[in-house]
Symmetry: C2
Subunit: 428 residues, 2 copies
């Protein structure tokens, strides 16, 4: 008997019909002999509708009240799902984040989980009931106020709860069949990736894949908890996100084929490029820029500093950040104009970040060469480069991103009709 | 400085515009120097919409989950109201029933308040914030599950909280100007009643007036807490519900005129008449009937037993109960057919209960005579009679109820254009 935590997203419980279908799946899992704990998001567009209502009464609602409002969404979906399960003859009990023991800090709208004390969930399981837990929400340790976890919060709830309950697997149900080698809308030959490591999945999440949120994968890696991403509309196997050791075991057991060098290609068009022009080329200037950005809470990604022009003793510093942070970034830098001594600021939002991810590139030195050759042959100009041990990312013109993804997907043998024995991995 | 608990019903916060209007009223009260605690119902039709959603997934949802679902309604309205107040520059904090310390038994859907521990509300007041509390809901003492208080629950929350906080008054805001001498749709000359005793208000609530729920008035009487029923759409004085002593003080202070003999007339068309035909006229038979009904949890109202027919030694027992309980009542009695030994059961749903209420009838013996004379002169046949110290009720044909109300309202000088110095009181 396994303990399975199943998480259903908003699209899986969009209306009464979907709720009943999900209820049937949950009851079937229970009947097959496993213990089940369910984490559920708000139904369909509920969260957006609640946000609209908030905006009707206040342009800038306080975070505490916004969290109180938004948590009504999961309250509705979890109660309705419990009713649907009850209607199939099984016992289900819904629990708010607070009742399920999701203790967070008090950063409203983006709270971090501090502790999970799922005493009531364990009791419900012991009594043979199916606990239904509200995703995305918790209770602040100090103020006892209701909090929300921010983007990808329900996935994080599911993984944190699975870890605290020592579950065997956390199943994340969504409206696609799993993680793909790249966005199937861009490359129709994209393949589903059967197995991927936490590290690769984190790199993918960081460069724009939307299937799993970075924070949830981090959490799963810390507790070595297998995640199974799959569709709530079919019973097909999806994508297993696991440790390299667990994947090796799966290969030994014949459940997986040999692991590929490259798992996927992703493009992110939501970043912008900011250039701080004419910064004196002396120690401390770059530090002043990035301290200003850090103090303003802005996540920056790639950084490039030009070789200084000998005549002027000045250089340009370029970085990328999410488009939504550009205004704030410019204000933060302008506010320290005297310390940084720059000449001007330029912004370019017409960029894309194209990334290749694969744990295998660690031991295969030719990957970079193949990567740049594929882009060069397609006539794509590379503006910035950044690499990690298992990822190569470049900034290109946004209009080139589709061509770049297609070229790389094909060059690394990821196309489904290709001959290469590689798997793949990228979000949609 | 007074402490005022203000309760706003669903029609007062039906949409963003109404919420803003209510927020303005709350902030004005606070600015005028009083402390304010707000209790709020779900917005407009939210509760009905949630019930519809529940019915889509389950014909008979478990009470625990129905309560979890319905409490999302007040969660939304209280958060939105807090935002609107915040937008006017005052600080508001919303609290669920559980957070506000509303401790109940675990009778889902109709929980009773066991205790109120409003520690967080007092803290918020001490910090200068306006607490916004979800009406209608609490938390079960034993199971820690979320409960709802049933019909009129938000009024009861407001009164219970006001009592626990030792507030000076509980203001119940609604969409009418207060309590009327009878339903203004039936008698256009109906008057607003400025003062009414708890007892009279309870009798009115019991016979079909819908402005205040019986339970909330009972609670207020127990703690001698004045209730002020008024419209959220105007700043007019409404109806004060208080003890006879408080009304006497108001008269002495010149705030009220002398109290009337009769305060109002009400008609309730939602009862049915059930007759148990041919019951042996021997000790214990009536008891067996009413024990069966009590065990089934059915509230019965009027009871009449015919004089027994000497030839058969059998009699008929007739009682009234809410139309919604008729089916259950018949099943309960049929299930004890052998013990009760009756011959048949008949049901009549075409009845109305017409009532006259007034604390003054205690000391005015002529009221009954005038009552029956007014009905007789209008040609209305009386089928059953029941009286309390301050109420006379009769059952008539449902088609006669409007005529009966008009005749009584006029006969006791309640018409607004009449000359009598009486006040009046009946719900709509």
């Amino acid at each position: 008997m396994s303990l399975i935590v199943q998480k259903y997203g908003g699209s899986s419980v969009a209306d009464a019909t979907s709720v009943k279908r999900v209820a049937r799946r949950i009851v079937d899992t229970k009947k097959s002999g496993d213990e089940v704990v369910v984490v559920v998001s708000a139904m369909g567009d509920t969260t957006d509708e609640l946000l609209d209502l908030a905006n009707e009464v206040s342009p800038l609602p306080p975070g505490r009240e916004l969290d109180m409002l938004l948590t009504a969404g999961e309250r509705i979906s979890m109660a309705v799902l419990a009713m649907a399960i009850h209607d199939l003859g099984a016992e289900a009990r819904s629990y708010t984040g607070s009742q399920a023991g999701l203790i967070t800090d008090s950063a409203h709208g983006a709270a971090r989980i501090i502790d999970v004390s799922p005493g009531r969930i364990s009791e419900a399981l012991a009594e043979g009931a199916i606990p239904i837990v509200a995703g995305f929400q918790g209770v602040a340790q100090d103020s006892k106020d209701i909090t929300t976890l921010g983007r990808g919060g329900s996935d994080t709830t599911a993984v944190a709860l699975a870890a605290a309950l020592n579950a065997d697997v956390c199943e994340i149900y969504t409206d696609v069949d799993g993680v793909f080698s790249t966005d199937p809308r861009v490359v129709p030959a994209a393949r589903r990736v059967p197995f991927i490591t936490y590290e690769e999945m984190m790199e993918l999440a960081a460069v724009g894949a939307k299937v799993l949120h970075l924070r949830c994968v981090e959490y799963a890696r810390r507790f070595d908890l297998p995640i199974h991403v799959r569709s709530s509309f079919s019973s097909k196997e999806g994508t297993w996100v696991m440790s390299p050791e667990a994947i090796t075991r799966a290969i030994e057991e014949g459940r997986a084929m040999e692991q590929p060098i490259i798992s996927g290609v992703a493009a992110d068009v939501n970043d912008a490029k900011v250039t701080v022009v004419g910064v004196p080329d002396k120690p401390g200037q770059a530090s002043a820029i990035f301290r200003a950005l850090a103090d303003a809470g802005i996540n920056i990604d790639m950084i490039v500093q030009n070789v200084s022009a000998a005549a002027t003793g000045r250089t340009d510093v370029t970085f990328t950040c999410p488009e939504g942070s550009v205004q704030q970034a410019m204000e933060a830098i302008n506010a320290r104009r005297e310390a940084i001594e720059f000449e001007s600021l330029t912004v370019d939002e017409h960029i894309a970040k194209v990334s290749l991810i694969g744990a295998g590139m660690r031991s295969h030195p030719g990957v970079s060469a193949d990567f740049f050759q594929a882009l060069a042959e397609t006539g794509i100009n590379v503006e910035m480069i950044s690499t990690s041990e298992i990822r190569i990312s470049v900034v290109t013109r946004v209009d080139d991103s589709t061509k770049a993804v297609q070229a790389l997907h094909s060059a690394f043998g990821l196309d489904a009709d290709g001959e290469a024995v590689v798997y793949a991995g990228s979000g949609r």
